[in-house]
């Protein structure tokens, strides 16, 4: 009895939270188009989230390219299909692995950072202080952060994908004695518009999800310092789940329009 009541309560609070988050997203779109625009803060957040994540994204992408090529090479070599290596690697990285892995890395770095920052601002009354000073804290803190991640994530993914392909080319050059020119020619032959466009569009939604969940958790943080930790942690957990759901929907929709 108590177990079923507890499950019911949890389900209720889960759906209540989804409802709250939807209203929060609705408020974001309303405030996005209303004046005044916080351009300076938007640029600052783009720098914080974009430039400061670049090194992490490049290292992740580079290792991803190296490992993926190293792991795939023996199997393709056994089948005598080494010539397919550039096509397989590039399509896998650009369409799926690059966007998902880099989005997950950014959910960890950016999403938890936003959750912790806004959460601590909430519990130390800094958000209240902004409101009392006649500034709209939702617009200043939430809109700028969601917009910054939404704009920056596609760029970070493009950079990460490119670095992953460079990593892959280095392994192919060392292990398979394939020249860089040949390898990249094959990559560009294999990739088409229908690979790049859906992958890039879905990273816009990934970015929006990271920003939305991080700001929602931080902005509505309660329960003192424990709440800050919870906000940061749950921002990453919820975002990671949401990224896979968005990915599934994106692949499903891409399949309809581009017949992948």
């Amino acid at each position: 009895m108590s177990r079923s009541t507890s499950f019911l309560d949890r389900s209720k609070s889960f759906f209540a939270e989804i409802g709250d988050m939807t209203l929060f997203a609705g408020r974001f779109f309303r405030e996005l188009f209303s004046t005044p625009f916080e351009f300076k803060e938007l640029i600052r957040q783009c720098y914080n989230m974009g430039i400061r994540s670049l090194f992490l994204v490049m290292v992740t992408g580079f290792i991803l390219g190296l490992v993926f090529t190293l792991q795939s090479r023996p199997t393709l070599a056994d089948l005598g299909a080494e010539a397919w290596m550039p096509s397989m690697i590039s399509i896998s990285i650009v369409r799926e692995i690059g966007p998902v892995i880099i989005a997950l890395i950014c959910a960890g770095r950016i999403g938890s950072g936003i959750g912790a920052e806004l959460g601590s601002m909430r519990v130390t009354e800094q958000i209240d202080a902004m409101e009392v000073s006649g500034t709209n804290p939702f617009k200043y803190l939430v809109v700028t952060r969601i917009l910054a991640v939404t704009l920056m994530l596609p760029l970070l993914v493009i950079v990460g994908d490119a670095v992953a392909l460079i990593g892959s080319a280095i392994i192919e050059n060392l292990k398979g004695d394939v020249s860089y020119t040949l390898y990249f020619n094959k990559i560009f032959d294999a990739l088409s518009f229908s690979d790049l466009l859906p992958a890039t569009v879905k990273t816009v939604f990934f970015g929006f999800a990271i920003g939305l969940v991080g700001t929602y958790k931080g902005y509505n943080c309660a329960k003192g310092t424990v709440g800050v930790g919870e906000a940061s942690n749950s921002a990453v957990v919820y975002t990671s789940m949401l990224l896979f759901i968005i990915d599934f929907i994106a692949v499903f929709v891409s399949d309809i329009f581009f017949e992948i």
Binding site: Q126, M130, E131, V132, S133, G134, T135
Partner: protein, 249 residues
């Protein structure tokens, strides 16, 4: 003319506020007159901070009316409320300085949208320096809040509250967590500000010394209602034991 006969700059009438089954305010009322220092005392959890947050529109009361300069803030739109908030300075209990900004940026923040509100505005830099000078911390201009002591943070927060030249200042536990010497400095500063800026002040405190030095009038908030009201001398010598209990050091 006696202050009681003047029109109050701030008036709360029959304010009720509950959080679930917890009834925090059960019909609290007050009047704050121009140039007056009104102290609100009460036990922890008696609803003092909730009441102040209702006044600045951070919390919506369940019923009652809050009038600031003849404008009812409960029925007010967001833009009008934002503008009216520039008439109110608020010193938060924990200072609430923006920790990712320098002292200068903290003080510039309220000016971003409301420079035009200040008469004879001579520039952001001048306004920031004047406000910091009034709390004696001009040298901290480019420091981060984490580089300041608790007392200095409180003074910078006070400078930020003053930058838009408000007519009313709310102090939420201004001396809590400070050593007696720094607490006295803050009390002295509050008195100087009241004289210099001719502000009306609403002060929430547990600090009897603070109440004694600064108050023109005191209201005791007990169980969500006005329990007693009077000057420091009247209340501290009251025949009611519960009232007297507040003034025992």
């Amino acid at each position: 003319m006696k202050k009681e006969n003047q029109k109050p700059v701030l008036e709360l009438k029959d304010i009720h506020k509950s959080f679930g089954k917890n009834h925090v305010l059960k019909g609290f009322s007050l009047k704050l007159h121009e140039g007056e220092n009104l102290v609100i005392m009460g036990k922890s959890g008696s609803g003092k901070s909730v009441m102040v947050k209702c006044i600045v529109g951070l919390i919506q009361p369940d019923s009652g009316s809050i009038t600031i300069k003849d404008q009812n803030i409960i029925t007010m739109g967001q833009k009008e409320l934002d503008f009216l908030r520039t008439e109110i300075g608020y010193l938060f209990q924990g200072s609430a300085l923006y920790d990712s900004m320098t002292v200068r940026e903290n003080l510039e923040f309220p000016l971003r949208r409301h420079k035009d509100k200040i008469e004879n505005f001579q520039g952001t830099d001048e306004a920031v320096k004047a406000a910091l000078e009034s709390v004696g911390l001009l040298h901290t201009l480019d420091l981060m809040p984490s580089e300041l002591s608790g007392g200095m943070q409180r003074r910078v927060a006070l400078a930020r509250a003053l930058i838009l030249k408000p007519k009313i200042i709310m102090y939420d536990e201004p001396t809590t967590g400070l050593d007696p010497i720094t607490a006295n400095e803050i009390i002295q500063l509050m008195r100087n500000i009241q004289i210099e800026y001719n502000t009306s002040s609403l002060i929430i405190t547990h600090d009897v010394d603070c109440a004694r030095v600064i108050s023109n009038r005191i209201i005791l908030l007990v169980d969500g209602i006005n329990y007693a009201e009077g000057t420091y001398e009247e209340l501290s010598n009251s025949s009611d034991p519960q009232t007297r209990a507040f003034f025992k050091n």
